[in-house]
Amino acid sequence: MAVCQDFSCRKSPPAHLHLTYYDTFDWRLNAANLRLYRQQHEQDSQLVLESLKGDVPPSFTSLSTVPKFAWELPASAIRQYIEPIIEMRALLPVAEIKSREDTLRITNKEQKTVATLTLQQDDIVLTSNHRQALPPRLVLHAVKGYENSYQKTRKKLEQDIDLTVLEFDQLLAALQQQGIAVNDYSSKLKIQLEPQARADLASKSILKRLYQTMLANEAGLKTNIDSEFLHDYRVAIRRTRSILTQLKGVFADTSAEHFKQEFAWLGEITGPLRDLDVHLLQFDSYADNLPAAHRAALLPLKEYLFQVREQRHQGLLQDLASKRYTTIQAEWPAFLDKETISGELPENAAAPIQELAKRNIWRSYRKVMKQAGALSMSSPAAAFHELRKSCKKLRYLMEIFQSLYTGNEIKQLIKHLKILQDNLGEYQDLDVQSLAIKQFAREMEGHGIGRSDTYMAMGILVGALQQKKLAVHQEFIACYTQFARHGVQQGFAHLFKPVNKQLELSQ
């Protein structure tokens, strides 16, 4: 090869590699400009993490099988780096490539490798016996600190052999061959609404998108891939319910009422499983609440939670195979696709969506302010729970209709609301969790699971959660004050207050 006339080269034996790329269902690694793949070569197998932006040096770690979750990876730089990015999401294989590599190591006088030049021939594995070949490529790799050698080799290749530089992403090429679009799923509701669109049509377009989200997550929640399939599925249900219950007069009463009940049922049957997922996701922080000597004693609780989760998952599978669910799956898309006949329009169906959104968000905001204003620190927990529910409804409406508002103002208001909502949420979660743990202790005792030190650890945990609950409750005033301050109130009024009311005020 021409390069070898000018540089000292050492040819490595051809390598037959099997690469498997991984990402999460919602493409978190791709969103962070990362590529994670397992590279198998003969008996060796290693996991490689590369940054597309080159801001993180590539990392390698030897391992034979890629675990489902980041926390199951061996302690390594890769684990440290990706764990906070993918969190509780499972690593899923997204593309497979069989590759032949013929590598020339370009070396200096000391026989030190200063660059590598690899002829790479990739086959995308489409099915077990169907492959698609990609055009062969020459890949020139630089070695840190030897950039001059890299540049010289590159110049040689460009000038003497007339090769051109190509930006190439092996994963994207493989996905394209499989007809998969990267970032084809996001849990965020990204939909651009036209402010003047008819309320019923605009609402249906959102509901359709939410239904697609439910369908996209159904397989994953049925096969138990990770907790977030159920979570995203439930968020889509709750958003759907928000539209059906809060946008009054948009759909015929009978249809709206029927589907409201059906989606409430879906919320009910998925709730208990989600509760257990939350316990399991928080298990490490539960253990952190305990003195070190008691932590190990909590493990039987974890086993019990897994056991109950399995039972509840089986129950959910039965519900999702029921006639009632099949009927929803037939009726709901039919309702969403059905054209409304002009003569029979409910009163708000033809109203511009922005007007309706504005009116509802304003009403929902007023309710939150009224409820919050009536609270004192000695109010019963139920009153705080009611406020939390109202905040949630307001948040859903604001998120659903976010695209009707340009600029950053709505995002800022959501942030303020989120601070209040998080406080109320944490307060209630801690309450529910400590009650649930007491209940688990009774159940475990009834089934003869666990030892006395387990019950003692659970007791300490309940105490710690209740203390934390009190501390969170103390922060309520500060969270509410930031939400109720004049600037935020003005922001809500500016975006959502109906014009006639603003006029009344200014006169």
């Binding site: 290693q46 590539p58 390698f60 770690t61 061996p74 390594s76 890769i78 440290q80 030190k112 070695v143």
Partner: protein
């Protein structure tokens, strides 16, 4: 990021072999490692076939005319980089003396690498000087390879006295035996009855083995040409023990 230094007042005790082989093992496990060959003799650089030359020399680095990141060289092994030695390092003491807070300057140079590297291994020159003090200040752990002989023990005692008089009692010290030949009475005696309880000797010991010497012929870490040898196995055990000690230390510090 953890900084581990391989140090002994005496030369020829296996400091460089320790850094090169432990660096290789940490990198092979999946940690991003950087070795800094601080010894002007440049043995670690030699083992990785990297020229012992740093543009602008030690002066350029300490006076920040050249960034440390710009002189890092990739080795032929994944996850493992090296800052080469330079003959000018022999004057490092004088350079450190010239600046403010001389003992802290080395640490200051290394601190920005916390995001890029998980382990930094320092191959130290055999002396007890201001450079050594800067290393003691920067390091999370100090590995002290020692041949089991009377003179070695004497140098360890000298070092321990120095530690006491220089307020370095917090330094995590890990002495261990190298070039051990159990056929020799003295070696056997010292290895079986390590003379110190505090700091405790590591249990791992590196045998006197020809394959370790051959690193100079292969110019590579032991594992790339004798992965299953006795020496390689000993370095594996040493690495496990070092990690365990670091972990215990972390727990102790809470």
């Amino acid at each position: 990021m953890k900084i581990i230094a391989s140090y002994n007042i005496k030369g020829g005790v296996g400091k460089t072999a320790t850094v090169v082989n432990l660096g290789y093992l940490a990198a092979a496990e999946g940690w991003r490692c950087l070795i800094w060959d601080l010894d002007p003799q440049g043995a670690a650089s030699f083992y990785f076939r990297i020229k012992p030359k740093v543009k602008s020399g030690a002066k350029g680095l300490f006076e920040r005319k050249r960034e440390l990141a710009d002189v890092i060289k990739g080795t032929d092994f994944d996850n493992l980089d090296l800052i080469p030695a330079d003959f000018s390092y022999r004057n490092m003491d004088l350079l450190l003396q010239d600046g403010k807070s001389p003992v802290q300057r080395l640490h200051k140079l290394l601190k920005p690498f916390a995001k890029e590297y998980d382990y930094i291994l320092l191959d130290c020159p055999p002396s007890i000087s201001l450079v050594s003090e800067s290393i003691f200040y920067a390091a999370d752990a100090l590995l002290i390879p020692m041949i089991p002989t009377t003179l070695s023990m004497r140098t360890l005692e000298q070092f321990l006295k120095f530690r006491k008089s220089h307020d370095l009692m917090q330094l995590n010290i890990m002495p261990f035996f190298t070039m051990v030949d159990m056929r020799k009475n003295l070696h056997r005696l010292l290895v079986e009855n390590p003379p110190l309880h505090e700091p405790a000797f590591l249990k791992s010991k590196i045998p006197y083995a020809s394959e370790v010497e051959q690193m100079g012929i292969h110019r590579a870490p032991l594992f790339s040409f004798a992965a299953h040898s006795r020496g390689a196995q000993a370095y594996r055990l040493l690495w496990e023990e070092v990690k365990e000690r670091l972990h215990d230390e972390n727990r102790r510090l809470g």
